[in-house]
């Protein structure tokens, strides 16, 4: 008989072995999957996991995809560490794009070197404002943060749609729902001539390190960790929960807002109805894969970006439909989470023989 038993302490061995085990299980499962579809599994793995990093252009694009995921995930990691269940990164990202984009459109004739910083600042502040509403509702009325942040995601999406269909629509765009293209003065500079790596990605990587320092080397970080692990103890120690909630939520909102404004002033270059393919939601997975550690998020955001890119490449190179790619990604995440189970629990084998007196 097999029995599940909680471990007294988290297993250090499993913490390291779990991701490796998950990857091995995924490789076995997907080899079978691709073989039954008549595709060479080794070629499929190569396209899905290695091709996205095979040349400079693809590496650059991997960073473009990683940037917004990382910014959102770093903020979410801080929130989840402090037991604040913020699901609102998507809405905060969209508001950042909208606020920053509106500023960029207002400054479309400007050639000032301050135009871009102003637009970015507007984006960051918009994201913070969007995080502030649910935070206030939680602290004032004890409303459920998960529900309010999800609702605010929808409100943000509809505000964006309204803006690109109405006041911010390109007057020369034949009525199509998108804004004018931003001018060069409000476009993020590209780091290398031929690709799309922009300044926003550098900021994203810096933010991961900054959050790590904040979490591990500062008093606020200490408070966050204590609040997350033992709230009564934190209160007993006299930590100010309200102030901490505000700090963490505003940082997360600002980072998500930065992700949004960097996306529209970077690779997209205008306001459109579909700015984010769900970065704010994927970032939840990224944050957990990274074990709620800002530097872990750096790794997991890279990993997820590779997976997404590999999905598109697999359609181009080996002709598998998106559904199969989605299945591969789902299975991988499933095994990762399933293996994590063994960090906290273990299986014990008990013999079925009756105990003899």
């Amino acid at each position: 008989m097999i029995r599940i038993q909680a471990r007294v302490e988290q297993s250090t061995l499993m913490k390291i072995a779990s991701p490796i085990l998950a990857i091995i299980l995924t490789l076995i499962f997907s080899s079978v999957l691709f073989s039954t579809l008549g595709k060479d599994p080794i070629q499929a793995m190569h396209v899905l996991l290695i091709a996205p990093l095979s040349d400079l252009y693809n590496i650059g694009e991997m960073f473009v995809k990683m940037g917004p995921l990382l910014l959102c995930a770093v903020g979410l990691s801080l929130c989840y560490r402090a037991n604040l269940w913020n699901i609102g990164a998507e809405g905060q990202l969209l508001m950042g794009a909208l606020g920053g984009g509106a500023a960029a459109l207002a400054l479309i004739d400007s050639t000032s070197i301050f135009a871009l910083p102003i637009a970015i600042l507007c984006g960051v502040v918009s994201g913070m404002v969007w995080a502030a509403f649910p935070t206030y509702l939680k602290l004032k009325f004890n409303s459920n943060l998960i529900l309010t942040t999800i609702m605010f995601n929808y409100i943000a999406l509809y505000l964006l749609l309204w803006a690109v269909h109405g006041p911010l629509r390109d007057p020369d765009g034949y009525g199509f729902p998108e804004s004018a293209l931003f001018s060069d003065a409000v476009t993020l500079p590209v780091l290398f001539e031929d690709g799309r790596i922009h300044l926003g990605i550098v900021l994203a990587i810096i933010s991961a390190f900054a959050a790590w320092i904040l979490l591990n080397k500062s008093h606020i970080g200490f408070q966050i960790r204590v609040f997350g692990e033992d709230e009564p103890a934190a209160r007993y120690a006299g930590f100010n929960g309200k102030k901490l909630s505000w700090t963490v939520m505003l940082i997360a909102g600002g980072l998500a807002g930065l992700a949004g404004v960097a996306e529209v002033t970077g690779p997209i270059g205008q306001l459109i109805p579909s700015i984010s393919p769900g970065y704010g939601y994927s970032a939840i997975i990224v944050a957990y894969l990274g074990r709620l550690h800002p530097l872990g998020a750096l790794l997991s955001a890279t990993f997820m970006a590779v997976l997404y890119m590999g999905g598109d490449l697999a359609q181009i190179e080996i002709g598998v439909p998106t559904a199969v790619v989605g299945m591969f990604q789902g299975v991988l995440l499933f095994f990762l989470l399933a293996c994590d189970f063994f960090i906290r629990y273990r299986l014990t084998f008990i013999s079925n023989q009756p105990i003899q007196e």
């Binding site: 252009y57 693809n58 694009e61 473009v64 995809k65 749609l161 269909h165 109405g166 629509r169 034949y174 009525g175 199509f176 729902p177 998108e178 293209l181 031929d194 799309r196 996306e263 970077g266 690779p267 997209i268 270059g269 205008q270 459109i272 109805p273 579909s274 700015i275 984010s276 393919p277 890119m309 598109d312 490449l313 359609q315 181009i316 190179e317 002709g319 439909p321 998106t322 559904a323």
Partner: protein
């Protein structure tokens, strides 16, 4: 030694070029939805399949489905160009600026963007004369309605949709002077839930013929449930409403995909703004329901024939807008460039364009 390596080099080049001559011509497609949406992307994918069948082994196609119109599309289009596709069709409006950007870097690749308005040396655009299908729909709807109320489920207030609303109304008016048109904006191209809600709201207001400018069969299914009529959009939707279905206006992209591929292969391609309609067999009236009265069936056929032969164009003046302005002068027929900018409702539509 030098001569030898030179010869080897030449041999390699020659080998490469013959290899290239034998290689199939590669065509890439980018879809905004899944190929199983039974609407827009579904029909583009059918066109792709026809293209591959037409050329046998000489053309190899690749597609990427479900590509977001955000930052991802530029990467996907680039990767298609990088992996050696000679011709790339980007099939949604949101791919316009990404297509232009990628085309600048891949000057030897030809790009074709559906429904956009930006072109360049290696980017052409193509779209459908959907207003032709709408005109025939308007005739049928005007004859079939008993309550004299038509319902239009509209997606986005862009010129194509506004043009088509006008087309339906003008047609219906010629066969039924008392007809009224109710318009609901759903702000989506594909959302079965929202489309059903809109259909029910329209039917609650007494509408008994539904027209849709969205891609799911949901409105037709809703019409079938409540015993009223509907017209299929983009693909043949007859099996979704055996009794409700009047006919479907079917998109068929294959003729354009075949002729464009041929032109690029022969080196005769020139980027243009192509509009395909009845005449080009890119739009057709599919599966006319047997349960329609004979006079309606005849009228559908004659209207189709007149538009196809060029005898009649729905946007021929004089036409007044519903704000009392003369928008098309007597004797003038709108050019394609003018059709692309329609931003008024014709006289008689009791509504205003949202903004």
């Amino acid at each position: 030694m030098k001569l030898k390596s030179l010869l080897i080099g030449l041999g390699l080049v020659a080998g490469l070029s013959t290899a290239q001559a034998e290689d199939p011509f590669k065509v890439g497609f980018v879809y905004v939805g899944p190929v199983g949406d039974h609407g827009w992307s579904y029909e583009h994918n059918r066109g792709r399949e026809e293209l591959e069948k037409h050329f046998g082994g000489k053309v190899k196609t690749t597609y990427v489905e479900n590509v977001s119109e955000g930052a991802d599309s530029e990467r996907v289009i680039t990767q298609l160009a990088k992996s050696g596709n000679d011709l790339i069709f980007t099939t949604s409006f949101g791919y316009m600026n990404p297509t232009i950007k990628v085309a600048k870097r891949f000057k030897k690749t030809t790009f074709e963007h559906a429904t956009g308005y930006k072109r360049s040396k290696n980017v052409g655009t193509y779209t459908l004369r959907t207003y032709e299908g709408r005109y025939v729909s308007g005739i049928a709807a005007g004859m079939m309605t008993k309550t004299n109320k038509l319902g239009y489920i509209a997606s986005f207030p862009i010129p194509e949709v506004i043009r088509d609303i006008n087309s339906v109304y003008m047609a219906a008016k010629t066969v039924n002077p008392d007809v009224e048109m109710k318009i609901v904006w759903v702000n989506t191209w594909y959302d079965p839930g929202k489309e059903t809600d809109a259909a029910n709201a329209l039917m609650d207001q007494g509408v008994d013929v539904l027209l849709q400018h969205t891609d799911s069969p949901a409105p037709l299914i809703a019409a079938e449930k409540r015993g009223v009529r509907g017209i299929g959009q983009a693909s043949d939707m007859s099996h979704f409403g055996p009794n409700a279905h009047i006919f479907s206006v079917r998109d068929d992209w294959a003729p354009y995909y075949i002729s464009t591929t041929e032109a690029v292969m022969n080196g005769t391609y020139k980027p243009q703004d192509f509009w395909g309609g009845f005449k080009d067999d890119m739009l057709s009236i599919a599966s006319i329901n047997d349960n329609l009265p004979a006079d309606v069936k005849t009228k559908i056929q004659t209207t189709y024939d007149d538009i196809r032969s060029g005898k009649f164009h729905p946007f021929t003046g004089p036409i007044m807008s519903n704000e009392g302005k003369l928008v098309i002068e007597a004797g003038h027929t709108l050019t394609d460039a003018e059709l692309a900018q329609v931003n008024w409702y014709v006289e008689g539509i009791k509504d205003s364009i949202p903004n």
